[in-house]
């Protein structure tokens, strides 16, 4: 709203538009610098995962904070995924698939390959007392 009022007030003057343009460029540059320096560090600090005997929990996000818990026996299958950038740094993403409708796959990005693989190992081990439900087994098939 403020921008609109400001824009209306100065629309007669071409010089003012130039100033506005410069300010906008300044903001964009500042945001890029922030995104390249401070953001990754904060984002790294805000992200964490935890493996529990009966489930897996992920926390991430600075502005939009997410905390998600998936019970172990609801995990249908797990994938380890690597993009070209991740491969360059020896990283991987762990993708957990559930039978859920809205969030059928939950991704944990930027973990080391051995960690991702050991997580996959551990998560795919089912508790032997748990009988897979029909719906889950079907979706795997």
């Amino acid at each position: 709203m403020g921008w609109l009022v400001f824009g209306l007030a100065i629309r007669q003057s071409f010089d003012a538009w130039q100033w506005l343009f410069l300010i906008l460029i300044g903001i964009v540059v500042a945001m890029l610098v922030w995104a390249a320096t401070f953001f990754p560090r904060r984002s790294f600090l805000a992200s964490s995962w935890r493996l529990h005997p009966h489930g897996f929990e992920i926390r991430r996000g600075i502005w939009w904070r997410h905390r998600i818990f998936i019970p172990r026996d609801r995990i249908q299958h797990t994938d380890v995924h690597q993009g070209p950038m991740q491969r360059a740094y020896g990283l991987a993403s762990l993708v957990l698939n559930t039978g859920g409708t809205h969030e059928p796959s939950i991704t944990l990005e930027g973990i080391e390959i051995p960690v991702a693989e050991s997580l996959r190992e551990q998560l795919s081990k089912r508790d032997s007392s748990q009988v897979p439900s029909a719906a889950q087994a079907d979706a795997v098939a």
């Binding site: 935890r50 009966h54 489930g55 904070r65 818990f69």
Partner: protein
Amino acid sequence: MIASTANSQSSRRLHPVSLLFEFASILRANVIPTIAAIVGTSRGGWVGIVVGAVVFGISAAVAIIRYVTFRYRISNGELIVDSGLINRVHRTVPLSRIQNIDLSQNLFHRILGVGEVRVETASGKEPEAVMRVIAIKEYSQLRNELLSFRNSGLDELREENVEQMPVSGSQTKAPELILALPTRLVLLAGFLSNRGEVIAGLAIGFLWQQRFSDKWFASEGWDKESVRESIREGAQGSASSQAIRWVRGLVEYLGTHTSSPSAILLVLIGLLIVFAVLRTFSATWYLLKFYGYRLERIGDSVHVRCGLLTKVSATIPLGRIQLISIQQKWLIRKFGLSSIRIETAGGEKESDDAASSIGRKWFVPIVDHSDVPRLLAILDPRLDRLDERIEWQPQAAGTKSRMFRSILVITTGVSLTLCYWSIVTGLLFGAAFVVLGWMYVGKKAKSLRYARTEWGLVYRSGTWERKTSITFFDKLQSVALNQSPFDQGWKMATLKVDTAASGPADHRIEIKYLDVERANSELRAIIQAVLPRMAGTQEKLVAEVA
């Protein structure tokens, strides 16, 4: 008798009239060559006849091949379906995996005593087996076998939660009537719902694209010539053109007599007539779809049956229900009525397949609201006397202010923009919007409700269309807590749970405006409830999770 047939039996074929329906459906799929053939024949052209003959020949051949190669049988707890000649398909569906077995019968099916049967599992978008068509007797037999299998001890793979159902299966073979809808109630529901408007909207959109866009408005006047032209060009018959002409005349009349009271009266009467026609449409749709509605319980399944011309029936195992949603549009609520939708795993979200939509989206199309608790208790005994026992959680303190602030931001924006043209209009608009907004916010905050019980979650939302959805801990796939930047500012959080429900209830359990402390404790409590019960270790485990 049933137990013995469930173990093994000889292959069964489709009903011989399948040939006819298969042939018709293939012809329908190739509608353009068929029309070419008919036109060609009437004009005596040989190309059309050849095309027609080829299409007919291929259709007939395909129909015969499908009929001859299709076989099904139940053996050792599995439904085995064989089909195809070149692509031979041998499909084995364990009976324990079958979610639904649906029947639909149109008028021709009913005359011939046959029906189209769909067998669905949780797995996919399309049914595991479609039997087009088998005799009704065969369908009943198939269903009985399935149900008796489910009720017998053979069902080893049954889901944990099925055990929580009363083990009454073996005794109650006979269907027990849960709900039958009188025609009067079905008609009332039709009049109260806006099905007609939806259909009319589609029709108007279609007509608009067809011809109104340039022909109607570009012409200077609405003279006889343009009517004739439109009749010649349009796909519509003369009746609709007459109606258009009449409406057009009316519009012109009103255009020249805008301020006279008779014009206003005419408009009002016109609107009333349109409204009445649309509502009649809607009532007709309801009558066609839900005439003779009956909900029955057979063992651990419920069975829905309804329809005037096309009769549809669906069987839903109770243990497979992921979500139950009680929905009340404003007018429906004012009349003390409700509808109930259920969600099971699998199937498409917006399935137009009649049987599956009856079994889920239109599970109970209309019911007296006071009867809902009884139905819920039948669907799941844990829901018995839910109304009395439920304890709604309080909302975060700032909920109303937060909702109002977002309205205030929009109002300020719009009214400032209006002030640019006229200050009075802008201010008046702003003032009106603020008052209405405050009232709306009050209603909205009041409508949002959330409760956690020992077996699951209950979430209610919606001011205009109130939806109360119930899900169970044993159906949850994941639990999440989200905080947007706004949430952080208001010290609130959103709690989301995900189930395998396919979504016809159109109500996601996503509880907004929770106090952040409370949201965290709710998350802990839900995790505790979802985790497998292990005496002793549970407390420690939850402490660790938290």
